[in-house]
Point group: D3
Chain length 297, copies 6
């Protein structure tokens, strides 16, 4: 009864910490992914895509091997597992579990220790989930350390005396500080990337599909930090008002039936609105409303 | 202190699997329903309605008996309990727990069994929650089976060897396939329906209220799969762009202060946007934004 | 690596029952507050504010003492702890956990008791979380009662025979009725208030920041019960249609390319829409859509 | 690798409200049942039994039809579905979800209604999960009522005005009273029963297995309300002490090395201990200890 | 149908943090308390007791006022609310949420602050849930401080800079240390106490019931840290073995049929067993088993 | 105030899937471990031990490096990380999350595939959490495969077409079968092991402590599958009854005051009781009781 079209691409979608944010981003981009408890293949409302939910750590390997045509994974794990040079890195898609910032892998030590830079850890124990990148980092610094793989709760390793330093991921540094640790170096900046298998990328039909995916995901991602602002501006004040608006997209100005007024509509950073609105009101704008956007292309 | 107006209609709202989706649909339609843990009567912000949360299975009976004036229930249970001809079926309201598709009651058997059609189950055991409809279905086919009422987990009945076939509800068939079962016939298509007591339907005051409910629920339902798309179009390209837009609602075209450009706004299926946006950009549209809608009437 | 600007104000944000609603309101107003499980200071995306999550009951005291510059707390606890005259009450911000109504502290008794007014409780036991206000209330009425502090589940105290009456908070009265109690008097109306330390309020830099906060919070609050309604109106019907629209904000009327039609857009109470839409359609409006708003200033 | 012996009996174990209590009872009786999330057949550490977890409501039908050889189900559902005369009722196993008491199906009405006996409900609406037994009960009383099937939350039906009376199950009556209802008649007493298929019961190998099950389940059930009490008794006080002990099992009296003392050990109702211990101490018993029992046969 | 005997005492049982431990202790003592979600009065399987679940903070007041005859509450709240001299303190019942140790209210400050004793906090801010005791404590020390009531999360107050010191409860001090705080003084030792209304205590019938409760609760409490140890001892080694056993209760020595061996049984601290067992084995004891006890009187 | 004795050993306790079972086993062995939410070091009621909760995967490395003196970890991870030859393997402690069986790592393939033995997977993709052991296993078989690290949900990898075979852990094989997979080879048997750092093992004070730990853990582990059975036996039937009892420990036979009877007490496998009890009753035993044991040494 269900005779699905043959999909064009097999796509790896990251399961776990990025899962909810990814499904949400896809939804705003125009694709609904639904996971079933007893079913292995999530539904996606596009017959041209066969989606597969895997851990971000696994996607690079499967894309490199051609088991998947494309996927979204973290740059950190892509490099850690050595897949960065084995796949086509199509685009950076900078979002995260709860904000849309990049994250950083940093070297942190006990707040009250005397370590000030990587070199001070010569001969010491480092706990991390990124064993390989950590080894490469210290080798690059000419520092010899013992790296211990850490299965989570890495910050606690220093406090418990199991390690002298850790290499751990953070967005704002606040969890690291909350454990009484101090960051002394940045090891790597990471964010999700859209990758493709090298052969799939040469296949024009697959590539077009992957590019469509990229265009819409970027449009949805952009919309997340933007809002639409709409107001009625006195014709005489238009220039003053237009000057206040950030030049992100040029504002749309339309005549109203009452020629004394114009309608001005624009898209701005949501964080800028709180400073903009008092200014606009002072300049004579009225009926200012703000509404949310799904996509901005 | 709270002296409520006398309500015009008593309305049954389905509790259980449809509950969250129903309350959500009502909210977008303009009615907020709030359930209290220790209270029997949910609040609804309309003094003309007294809402009652009941199981979908029960609502048909209470509407038929006039205990409720109107209600939303599933067509399946309405028929199973024999209330379909005892009430006025006002309108179909096609939504579901997680999508807005109809569901189907299907006859399924073990994937590796030899059964290919209903007739092959002659003399066999069928487990189902819809005992009556199942009996009527097989009788209509001239097939004699033993029907066992199933209190949930019906798919497992075949795998456990308790039944030879099941009649079970499904949206996409994926849960059935995930249990290793195979669908061999469709027994019934079902979806929520708005029903009214026959007497209440003849009372113009009640009928007007029920029709208002229907209009707004349909408007909210429609909006769920639609989005607004807004863009600036070069005047010269307007016709090309208008031709791309689906003819659902005719697009609104407004002049801008800069006569080279026009503002185009339209409402489209959200699933069509991912194919539309690349085309619109190629045709010269700029500043394309998409935003969500509460209602489309 | 993170070198935060020196914040202008220290702000108390209520933790507990109002927490989710407050964080949500701030987000719509333009400030994202993120709480970390192991961290004491919530992130707020404004370097000019240092936020502190405290119980509403505590904020008044810390603002009065100048430990915090400003905060949002409930009027009830502000008065109960005697801080109402020790701080500057900047503005009422009328929202609540689940609706945006004020709440009332009421005197309630067993539904089947004979008590009809405060005076009937002379010499009786009253359980409440607001010990002081309750004592002041009864003293003001010249009634002598024994006040027992109640650590939650106050309604149950009457049913269990531990108290003869209670002074308890309620929005709709339905929880009180669900316990079989009857309200016989209103003791106090309460809602969140934005307060400032008296010295901080005299400091113009701090005051400007607090006023910006107030302006945007009010704008977000207002938007919650409003929606935008947009439609195409036949030019000939414009006046009829404009008359139907509530005069909240004057509607924006813009010409369309097709001179037979005008575009009409307005902001209305979301609860009014269900009655408005049938009227607008009858008057000839077409393509009516409703969408949500983040802010209305 | 796992080559299980052919089981002697297929056994239905009730899923749902009795499930945890049943698995617990089986464990104390000597059988560990482990349910796997993705697996249909629970593990049971006895190769002679194949266990099947079904709803209590379904087990009677499957045992009657010979799909299962034996099972544990409630007497209420056995009768409701008409299977009581189609199976062999091996033994009553009186336990429940949280106590080990029987439960009762009672007729309850609004506390403030005027109904005093079944007859007063002539022509009224009765909501219940036991449609058939309720119809038979009222027919037996010569009373004509409309029976509505209730999918749970039956007590609320009266409060909401959907029904005039309910037939509902209760252990202590407290939930019924907590909804403001009043019990006016007892319709049926129910408890779990061990049933067997009639043919299986004639097969001696199956019957022996079912009887072993019954012996051990009863032993475990008995132990639940019993404890062992052990003490040193002065030889001179032995008779006095023995007289105090309930004659459930005759106490075991053993000599000690110190001939002035005897060791006395007995099994008593756990609820009797609180009254017994003060008496035993007064009679000179020393070193009284109480310990729990798994089985008493 | 349920005609309960008139209870002899009304008993307050603490709800909240001690609730589960209390219900568990009562169960081992011989009373089963069952709480119903919609019911105010918990069931207790003793018709002579009417139980009432209240917050520990409230019980003292209700017992003092005679609303309850007896209750279990914490010594801390009894004193804080000033009820310690208004009730009869029957016995200390030293158990807690997770161990059976007393807890301590301590004065703690930031780990890296310079405060070393109470006096150093002169003029500072102290946050606590025990406002009154804290004021009395500092007054007793002749130190003037500002006491702020803290609604939970008190440790965080110091870290957030809202307070200079806290008075907070702790069992092991580990939560306080985990927040980076340092204990500088002990303000009070607390544990649950069984209290009685002064009049009720003079009523012999009530007093006897309260004393029975006390005897059995103490027996159950004692059993929690004790286990029974049973072994076969070579007759020749008996004295050596008896000397090893702690003299808590004198061990029970019984002859066996094989005169070379004696049976030795004793009750010991469970924490002592790990050191005892290697010694007993070296001394020739065989078949050593340990089992748990419900009560030791 | 808390001045802990210097601990003799630092002990790694496995966190995660074995955590609850381990803490439970330690408790029955005589050590209470309590974890605090904000604290890194779990409390253990033995001043001679400092416990550290780590993932089983990490413990081997820390014991090998001497950061910990001893620990409990799985044999599988000990070998996978290459630590098996770097530590002293003190004893096997065969328990698991839910039973006390060893687990096995097996090679499994799709149930309907044609693979029958390891060799059939030449050139195929194998997903596993034990990358290294899997590589060594296939190398030992002379089979060349691509090993992909799997972050959980390994069974799904075959069903999703991401891998041709998996090496996965299982106790009963039922989860593997439930995913439609078939086991074709056993790669490794695993269970928890108590390990010690090689230097620590040469330190007699540490070694004695580790051996005490081992003795008591084994005693508690043994007790889990055993129960005590106690009965009165007619003197004349003693030999018949003794012959029925498994010769695990020789039964304790004691005289009773009534010379016709003897008291018989023994320790037996709990799973044997269901077959033993009917036999004992037939042989004349009376007052048979079964009770649970904490330890059997």
């Amino acid at each position: 009864m269900n005779e699905p079209t043959q999909p064009i691409i097999k796509l790896g979608v990251p399961k776990g910490s990025l899962e909810a944010a990814t499904i949400n981003l896809f939804e705003r981009a125009g694709w609904k992914i639904r996971q079933h408890s007893r079913n292995y293949f999530p539904d996606i409302n596009d017959p041209e895509i066969a989606a597969s939910l895997c851990r971000a750590q696994e996607i690079g390997g499967y894309v490199a091997a051609g088991v998947l045509d494309a996927g979204i994974t973290g740059l950190d794990w892509l490099c850690e597992r050595g897949h960065d040079c084995q796949v086509e890195r199509v685009a950076d898609i900078v979002y995260s579990k709860s904000s849309n910032r990049s994250c950083r892998w940093v070297l942190a030590v006990a707040g009250d220790s005397s370590y000030q830079k990587s070199r001070d850890l010569q001969g010491k124990r480092i706990a991390t989930e990124l064993e390989d990148l950590t080894r490469r980092y210290f080798a690059g610094q000419g520092v010899d350390v013992d790296v211990f793989y850490s299965w989570g709760a890495t910050e606690a390793k220093v406090v418990e005396g199991l390690a002298d330093g850790i290499v751990e991921v953070t967005e704002t540094g606040s969890t690291i500080r909350a454990h009484g640790l101090r960051v002394i170096a940045e090891v790597m900046v990471s964010f999700p990337v859209l990758i493709a298998n090298k052969k799939a990328w040469q296949d024009m039909r697959k590539r077009t599909k992957i590019e469509q995916l990229n265009l819409l995901l970027q449009g949805a991602l952009r919309a997340e930090n933007l809002v639409a602002l709409k107001m009625n501006a006195p014709t005489a004040q238009l220039d003053a008002i237009l000057q206040m608006l950030p030049s992100l997209n040029s504002p749309t100005v339309a005549p109203l039936r009452d020629a004394q007024w114009l309608s001005v509509e624009t898209v701005v950073q949501s964080a800028a609105v709180r400073d903009l609105i008092p200014l606009l009101r002072n300049a004579g704008a009225q009926g200012i409303i703000e509404y949310a956007l799904n996509k901005v292309v």
